[in-house]
Structure formats: C-alpha cells, structure tokens
C-alpha cells in the first residue's frame, strides 16, 4: 500500500498484507465467498431481526434476539475458521491441523479475544490485542500443534513486539471503513437529491424518510461491516503468513503469484 510505512523490524511494508488481501480476493475470492455467506447468513438474519425490533421499540423481544445473535456469532466463527483454513491451506501448500479437532480451542480463543475487543474497548489497548487475536486465532492454531494458551501468547507477543505495524494496519482498515461509509452516504444523497427528482422525475420523499431512519442506517453500517469483516478474515491469514514468511525467509508475494496462476 505504502512502501514508506515499512517499520524498523522489517524491510517489508506494514500494509503489504492488506495489498495482498485485495489481490487474493480478486484472484481467488470465488473460492471462499460462498463459505463466508454460509458463515454470516444466521448473524445477518439475527441482526436484521434485532434492527426491526429496535425500530418498532419492542423492548421485550430484545433478549431473545440478542441470544440468537450470540449463538449465530459462534456459527459465524466456526464457518469463518473454515474459510481461513481453506486460504491457509492454499497459501502454505499443506493442509495443516484438522479443523474439527481444533475448533473448541479456536472458539474459546475467539471468545477471549471478543471480550478484550468489546468490553475492553474503553481502555483501547485490550481492543487492539483482541482485534488481532480474534483474526489470527484460526491461522495460529491450525498452523502448528500450539495449544490455545500458546496461540494466545504468540499473538500477544507479536502485537507487543510489532505495535507500530499493528497500529498502521488498524489505522488503514479504520480509514478505509470511514471512506466507504462516507461514499455510501454520498451515494444515497445523490440518489434522493439528484437522480430521483431531476433525472427520473420521481418524488423521493418516502425513500428519504426510509434512508435517513435509524433502522436503514444501521442496516447499511452492518452491510459495510460484513464487507470489511470478510476483508479482515482473509487479511488475518495473509498477515499471519506474512509474519511467518518473513521469519522463514520465504516470499509471500511469490507464493501469491503462483496461486493466481
């Protein structure tokens, strides 16, 4: 992304795994997108149901909806791990540890990471560790015979040692998200203020009411979140592989070129 962002510990630019992610999705996205859709289908349904509950003001239906969303999150993590396992197998050229045998530890690690990321977010630092631990839980535990505890220690040590690199990655992803949200908002404005009244001669009043309502805005945010969640799911594997590649002296770019055919 930017070669000047290379940090002190490596010659490799900090954002190179994000560039590689775009390249991987462009060349191999069709292999993993269907699995990702399976992964997020229940969470999407649960979230849309909750947004409907919120827009109608039904307090009593919230606990059931949130329970459903929590269970759907476990499903998403399980299938998300399958997505990451598929990418990792393609990158490393070997199948790694069998996914079902490691699933309990992966889910346990992701739960710990989520607690750090969600409840620890007001302290900032736990959220940074949680963000990377959650993304890399499956790649770490599938790559070798590490236990869940050793996997957590590995990720925490990496973030601690490469905080500059980690912060650059988080900043880049956050800026991309904000730009994307701004782009979507501008697109909606353009449709309701220019395209519909001027070009199509339609009255946009009803559509405007829907678009600027809470439920619609939250749904748009969630859909954007899904796009970035998929991006980060792929990027985490490539980041882990990039870390290992630099340690092993193997060029990840070369491997990606081979995969892209």
């Amino acid at each position: 992304m930017n070669s000047f962002l290379a940090d002190k510990t490596s010659n490799s630019p900090a954002l190179r795994p994000l560039d590689d992610t775009v390249e991987y999705i462009r060349a191999n996205g069709a292999r993993v997108v269907p699995l990702y859709i399976v992964a997020v289908a229940p969470t999407t349904m649960a979230t849309l149901m909750l947004l409907d509950t919120v827009s109608t003001g039904m307090y009593s239906a919230l606990p059931e909806g949130c329970m459903l969303l929590a269970v759907a999150t476990l499903w998403k993590w399980a299938w998300g791990s399958a997505v990451q396992a598929r990418i990792q197998a393609a990158l490393s050229g070997r199948s790694g540890a069998p996914l079902p045998g490691r699933m309990t530890y992966i889910i346990a690690l992701k739960l710990v990471a989520s607690m750090a990321m969600l409840w620890g977010s007001f302290l900032v630092l736990p959220a940074i560790y949680g963000f990377f631990l959650s993304g890399m839980a499956a790649p770490i535990l599938l790559d070798s015979g590490r236990s869940a505890l050793e996997g957590a220690q590995w990720a925490i040590r990496w973030v601690g040692d490469s905080m500059n690199r980690a912060l650059k990655i988080i900043s880049a992803v956050s800026i991309l998200f904000l730009v994307a949200y701004l782009g979507v908002t501008l697109l909606q404005l353009m449709i309701t203020h220019t395209v519909m009244p001027s070009l199509l001669g339609m009255d946009p009043t009803e559509l405007s009411l829907t678009i600027w309502g809470w439920a619609w805005q939250m749904a748009v945010l969630y859909m954007l979140f899904l796009v970035f969640d998929f991006f980060w799911m792929v990027a985490s594997v490539l980041l882990y592989h990039d870390i290992q590649s630099r340690r092993a002296g193997v060029d990840l770019g070369q491997r990606l070129t081979t995969l892209g055919g």
Partner: protein, 97 residues
Amino acid sequence: MELRYCVNHPERPAIGECVITKKPICPECSTRYEGVNYSREGLAELKRRRARNTGLGFWNKVANMAMVAQAPVSLFLLYQYYLYIFTAILNMGGKSG
C-alpha cells in the same frame, strides 16, 4: 535489497535466517520445522528449550482447560454486550426510525 551469505558457506547466498540464532543460512544448512527455518544450532537450542518446558506440560493443560471452561462465561458476556448495545440504540432513538 542486500544479498546475505550463509554463515557456514560464505560463497552461497542465504535463503533466510535461523529463527533462533538469527544467522543467515543456505538451503543445505536449513531445516524446515513447523513452517519455519532452523540452523543446526537453532534446532539444538529448540530441543533444549522444549526439554525445559516439558515440566510445564501439566500447567499448560490446566491453562487450556481453563480457557475452554471460561467459554460459557464469555458467551454470556457476549450476549450481555449485544443486549447493552441494542438497548442503547433503542433508547437513543431507534423508535423514531
């Protein structure tokens, strides 16, 4: 990029460095184990470290069991977090949407 040469064979270009000793090594001096490269000295050091850590095996198992055992508590906290967020959204004006 600077070309580095094997610490044992100065005439041969290095393919990487040993993760333990950090010295550049050529394909002949490199052993790939658990996805990373080790020199002969690095492997010996790894073996020593593993032997030292064997005594910690029991506590590692206990820690792993604890990590799995905490999962229901974390799941409950995840549910609580969702409930907190969606209640906050509702209170902030979700009804007006």
